[in-house]
Subunit: 339 residues, 2 copies
DNA sequence: TTGAAAGCGCTAACAG
DNA sequence: CTGTTAGCGCTTTCAA
C-alpha cells in the first residue's frame, strides 16, 4: 500500500472539522474565531499524521513562496564570498525563507535569464550579489520584483544595497600604523579599476597628505592584485633609499608578495617593516608568518543585512531604497611594530 | 494602471484558442494534435505578451517543481566546496532545474528540519553534501525522496553517492615521487578520524611496504590538519638522522607548515626535500614557493555527477543506487625533484 | 485537430 | 465560533 503524504483535508477529517478551520488553526490566522480546544485538536491531529503543508499549493493561493532568489556572478565559487551566502541564508531561514541560488558566471546576458528563471518560480524577492564591490545598473528584467544589491551599489540609487565601508576599514588599518608611529606608509595596489581600489587608494592618499607627505612617491601599482603584483611593487618600494617604514596593501594576496619581497631583501616583518592589508582572507592573513593585520570584509554581515532589508521591503514595497555601509572590523595580528 | 503579469489565459485569448491548446502548443505536448499554424500563432502571442509560465501553478498540477534541494553541512562556507555547488548548479541549470540551498552548520538535528523544509517546498530530489569525505547514515526524514550523497557514502549503500578517489590520487602523487627516485617518503597526517585520512594513510602504507620499508618509522601525526600541525610533524621527521627525502602531506594546509619547517632547517624544496600533497586548494598549492604538486579534489565534477545521477533517479526511481569514485587529477608543479 | 471542465492542495471571502 | 465555496494558474482527461 502506497501512503501518500497527508494533506490538510486528512487533518481536518481526523480532527472532525472543515479544512478552513484546520487551516486557520494551524496557521494561527482568523483572529479569535478558532476555539482553544478546536485548535488543540487540530494540532494534535496534524502532529499525529505528520502533516506538512504543501507550500506549492499555499504559494499559488497566497502569492508568497517564501523563497528568495540569490543571483551571483561567480559568487558561489569565489572563496570568501561563501560567507555572504551564509549570512543571507541564516537570516532567511530564521524568517522561514529559503534561498534559490543561481550563478551567472559574470556573464551579463545570463543575468536576465537568471532573473526570469527565478521570477517564473515566483520568488518573493531577489538578492543580487557581486564578487567584488562594484557599481552596477539594476537589470531591467527585475521589473517590480523587490531587490537588494549585495556588495554593489546601483548607479542610480534605485535599489537598496549594502557594501563594505572601505573608507572606514582603510582608516582603521592606517590608524594601527599611526599608533605605532609610522608616517612613511607605502601603498601597493592594483591597476584594475574597481571601487575597492579607488576608495582604499583615495583614503590612503588623504591620510598621507594630512602628514604633508606626497602620496605619489610612496605608491606602487601592479597590473593585477595577485601575489606576483605584490612582490613586484614591494620590490620597487623597498629598494629605494628612503624606503617606507610600513606598507598598506590593497589586499591579502598582494601582501603575500610583499612578505616574500621583504624576506628576500632581508627585511624582517614587523621589525624592519610593518604591513597591513585588506580583506582578511581566512586562508591567508592568519596563516602568514607573522600573522597579518588586515581589515575584514564583512561578508556575513552584509548577507544578513541584505535579506533583512529585502524582508522589510516585502512588507513595505514603497519604502525608500536604503544604501548601507557595513563596517570592516580590523583583525589585529603581528605584522605591525613601532618604527 | 497596474499591469499584472500575463497568464496562459491571456496568451490563449490573444491567439484565439483555448488554454488547453495554448498549453500544449507551448509545451510541445499532446503529440500531433496541435497544428503547425496554431502552434506558431500561440508562440507568437506568448512572445508578444512576454509570457512566462507560473511554475508554482504548474508544479501544483504536475507534482514537479524542477527544484533540487541542496543540503550541506557548512558547505557553502568552506572555501573549496564552492566548486561542488557550482558543479551541481551548472548541471541542474542545463536540465532546467534550480538549487534550493540549505545549510545545517553540521548540526545533525538540523538536518531533519532542513530536509522537511525542502520537502514542504516539494523539491524533486535532494543532494546531501558534506564538507569532507565521510561515511554517514541517510537521515530517515528523507523518506522516499530521491537523494544523492555528495562527498560522502551511505553506511549501508542505500543511496547513490559520489566521493573522491582518494586511493587513486594518493597513488598518483606517490608515483610522481617514485618517478623522481624517492623511496624514503614520509607522511604527515592528522589524528582526526576521517575517511580521507584513513585512505590516504593506508595507501601510503601499502606503497612503502611494497619497497620493504617500515611505514611507521616515517609517519608523523598532528592533532589537526592545520599549518601548525604540518610544521610540528615535519620538524619531527626532518630532524632525524635518516630523514626522508620526500614528504607526502595529508593536505595543503599541512604542507604549508612543512614548507616552513624545511625553511627553518635550511632545507631547500625541492632540492633537499620533495613535497607532495592533497586537495590542491587554489589559494595555497599554486601560491607556495615553490608551487606545490598536489592531488586535486574533484569538487566540480562530483557536484555535476551528483545532479546527473539524481536526474537519472527521477526518471527511474527503482534503479540500483550507484556509488561513484571520482578521479583526483594530479596538479604537477615545482615541489618535486630527483633525489 | 480542438474546447470544456475537472482538479492539484491550499487560503480567504462569505454565510451562518 | 465554524462550515461552504470559490479560486490561485496551470495541465490533462474527456468529449467533440
Amino acid at each position: 500500500m502506497v501512503t501518500r503524504p497527508p494533506r490538510l483535508a486528512d487533518v481536518a477529517k481526523a480532527a472532525g472539522v472543515s479544512t478552513a478551520t484546520a487551516s486557520m488553526a494551524l496557521n494561527g490566522t482568523g483572529g479569535t474565531r478558532i476555539g482553544a480546544d478546536t485548535r488543540a485538536r487540530v494540532r494534535a491531529a496534524a502532529a499525529e499524521l505528520g502533516y506538512r503543508p504543501n507550500t506549492v499549493a499555499r504559494g499559488l493561493r497566497t502569492r508568497r513562496t517564501h523563497m528568495i532568489g540569490f543571483v551571483g556572478d561567480d559568487v558561489a565559487t569565489t572563496p570568501f564570498a561563501g560567507q555572504m551566502i551564509r549570512g543571507a541564508h541564516d537570516a532567511a531561514r530564521k524568517a522561514g525563507f529559503l534561498l534559490l541560488m543561481i550563478d551567472t558566471t559574470g556573464d551579463p546576458s545570463e543575468t536576465g535569464e537568471a532573473i526570469a528563471a527565478l521570477q517564473e518560480r515566483q520568488i518573493d524577492g531577489i538578492l543580487m550579489a557581486t564578487m567584488y564591490h562594484q557599481v552596477i545598473d539594476v537589470p531591467e528584467e527585475i521589473g517590480s520584483t523587490p531587490v537588494v544589491l549585495l556588495d554593489s551599489r546601483s548607479a542610480d540609487g534605485s535599489a537598496s544595497s549594502v557594501v563594505p565601508d572601505e573608507r572606514g576599514g582603510t582608516l582603521g588599518v592606517l590608524a594601527e600604523l599611526a599608533a605605532a608611529g609610522h608616517r612613511r606608509i607605502g601603498h601597493v595596489t592594483t591597476a584594475e579599476d574597481v571601487e575597492a581600489r579607488r576608495i582604499r587608494l583615495d583614503t590612503w592618499r588623504e591620510h598621507l597628505t594630512a602628514y604633508g607627505l606626497d602620496p605619489d612617491e610612496l605608491l606602487a601599482e601592479a597590473p593585477e592584485a595577485m601575489t606576483r603584483g605584490g612582490y613586484d611593487t614591494a620590490m620597487r618600494l623597498l629598494t629605494r633609499l628612503d624606503r617606507p617604514t610600513a606598507i598598506f596593501c590593497f589586499n591579502d594576496r598582494m601582501a603575500m608578495g610583499v612578505y616574500r619581497a621583504a624576506d628576500e631583501l632581508g627585511l624582517s616583518i614587523p621589525d624592519d617593516l610593518s604591513v597591513v592589508s585588506y580583506d582578511d582572507q581566512e586562508l591567508i592573513a592568519p596563516e602568514l608568518a607573522p600573522a597579518l593585520t588586515s581589515a575584514a570584509l564583512p561578508h556575513y554581515a552584509m548577507g544578513r543585512w541584505a535579506v533583512e532589508e529585502l524582508l522589510r521591503r516585502l512588507d513595505d514595497p514603497d519604502a525608500e531604497p536604503a544604501g548601507h555601509l557595513m563596517p570592516c572590523p580590523i583583525s589585529r595580528r603581528d605584522s605591525v611594530a613601532p618604527v
